[in-house]
């Protein structure tokens, strides 16, 4: 099968950040995020410091900044919300570029944008420098309940299989002249999603059978 290999978030490399144990990186990320969130939004220089720290890490990790930038699209809904805030929020108003905006909203938008962007960049950097499997081992070392780690493990394992199935269904639809541009065609997409769900469910049953056949008794061997 000609599926694209590897996980799209991971950027292969050998920098010190790549080599750092996953559990250290996980703890560092959580500490960083909590600190960022807890920082009062008016402490502008501190935020500049956070950004400088992140940029320094990105530089030493040798992950191309464009690689991270492309994956930051995930933040777009928050950006849109942040941009709307100054217009919909109440309180004293001020002028920016000839537009009347809420001072409160402006500060809120800044805080959301700054904290969000820092968080997303840091998470992407973790994903780019750590293999999914290493992340799972890291979580295990941090004593995250085994059942949760296992569920995540199955997710990592079958993500490619399911995406591949999705892609094949997409190709099969397009090959019969379907295009999803018209909202009237959306029900077809919904049905495909339903079929994908059922197929994945049935695969789950087959995987379970294969596990039972090798002596699985409900607990993962450790």
């Amino acid at each position: 099968m000609g599926a694209p290999h590897g996980h799209t978030l991971h950027f292969h490399g050998h920098s010190w950040l790549h080599r750092l144990p996953a559990h250290v990186k996980l703890v560092a990320l959580v500490v960083f995020m909590l600190t960022v969130v807890a920082t009062p939004r008016e402490w502008y220089p501190v935020f500049a410091g956070y950004l400088a720290l992140l940029l320094l890490l990105v530089a030493t990790s040798r992950v191309p900044p464009t690689y991270l930038a492309k994956r930051m699209v995930v933040e777009v809904p928050f950006v849109v919300f942040a941009l709307l805030l100054p217009f919909v929020a109440t309180g004293p108003r001020t002028e920016v570029l000839g537009l009347s905006v809420s001072e409160h909203g402006l500060l809120g938008a800044w805080s959301l944008l700054a904290k969000g962007t820092l968080g997303v960049t840091a998470s992407l950097l973790l994903a780019a420098t750590t293999e999914p499997r290493a992340l799972l081992t890291g979580l295990e070392r941090l004593r995250v309940p085994t059942l949760l780690v296992q569920i995540m493990g199955f997710m990592v394992r079958y993500l490619d299989v399911v995406t591949d199935e999705l892609r094949r269904m997409h190709v099969a639809r397009e090959s019969r002249g379907f295009s999803a541009r018209n909202p009237r065609h959306w029900p077809v997409i919904a049905k495909s999603a339903g079929v994908l769900f059922i197929r994945s469910y049935e695969r789950g049953e087959r995987v379970h059978l294969a596990m039972l056949s090798r002596g699985y008794d409900g607990r993962m061997p450790r």
Binding site: R133, V156, S213, R214, G215
Partner: protein, 246 residues
């Protein structure tokens, strides 16, 4: 001698009332390679799931090397009967090839160097030892099928049951897998409707049709019996003459 597989009058109906097996009698002796042939819907997969107690017969008995398939014996039965399922993506569910091959032996209680040795020997047997640390989804389909065989070999089964092992393989992978199967010192039940593959690997064939054993004998003779083949919806590929291969 006690047969490795001993099925007597195995009958089974699914909860929805569909009767898949109507009394199957089958014996497989140690060291044999037997092909289980039959058209789609003949009950082949249902029969396979009886061999390690995933399904329990409504009537009749299944025994593996003298040990009856019962709830109490399940773990030992599943060690003795190694089933390789059709889709390797169903069989390889761990993050790396090594962990996947270790899964079965670990369920049997193996740990440490003994486990390592088992895993390595099984991977070596299918020529995949150098891929031990790779995630299964980064392997080619043929490689994944070979690893799927290794996951079962690592349990040191008495009988290896292969469900449609040649499906979706290109001719080279197909031949490589055949070489591997021939090189193994284990009893094999090959479930397939790939008749040339059955002829290549198995001296003896059993036809399962409509939930009963319709024929049991020399593979070349069975494949050469046109009337028999036709009555059970089995067809040789165009231009294939069974006697030319033996």
């Amino acid at each position: 001698m006690i047969p490795v597989l001993d099925l007597q009058g195995v009958a089974f109906a699914y909860p929805d009332g569909h009767q898949a097996l109507h009394g199957v009698d089958l014996h497989v002796h140690q060291g044999e390679r037997v092909a289980l042939l039959g058209p789609n819907g003949a009950g082949k997969t249902t029969l396979v799931l009886h061999l390690n107690g995933i399904l329990m017969p409504g009537l009749g008995t299944v025994a593996v090397s003298g040990l009856p398939v019962t709830k109490a014996n399940l773990l030992e039965i599943r060690r003795r009967v190694g089933i390789v399922f059709q889709d390797p993506d169903d069989q390889l569910f761990m993050g790396s090839v090594r962990e996947d091959v270790a899964f079965g032996p670990m369920n049997l209680g193996l740990r440490g160097p003994e486990l390592e040795a088992r895993v390595f020997a099984a991977l070596e047997a299918v020529g995949m030892a150098e891929y031990a640390d790779r995630p299964p989804h980064h392997l080619s389909f043929g490689q994944r099928r070979r690893v799927a065989v290794a996951t079962v070999l690592a349990m040191e089964p008495e009988i290896l049951v292969l469900d449609e092992p040649s499906s979706n393989l290109d001719p080279a992978s197909r031949r490589e897998l055949a070489d591997i199967i021939r090189s193994l010192d284990v009893t094999v039940l090959l479930v397939t409707h790939d008749l040339p593959y059955a002829l290549e690997l198995c001296p003896r064939s059993v036809i399962l049709s409509d939930g009963v054993v319709a024929a049991d004998g020399n593979t070349a003779e069975i494949l050469g019996d046109e009337a028999l083949m036709k009555s059970h919806r089995l067809e040789l590929p165009f231009g294939f003459v069974p006697s030319s291969r033996v």
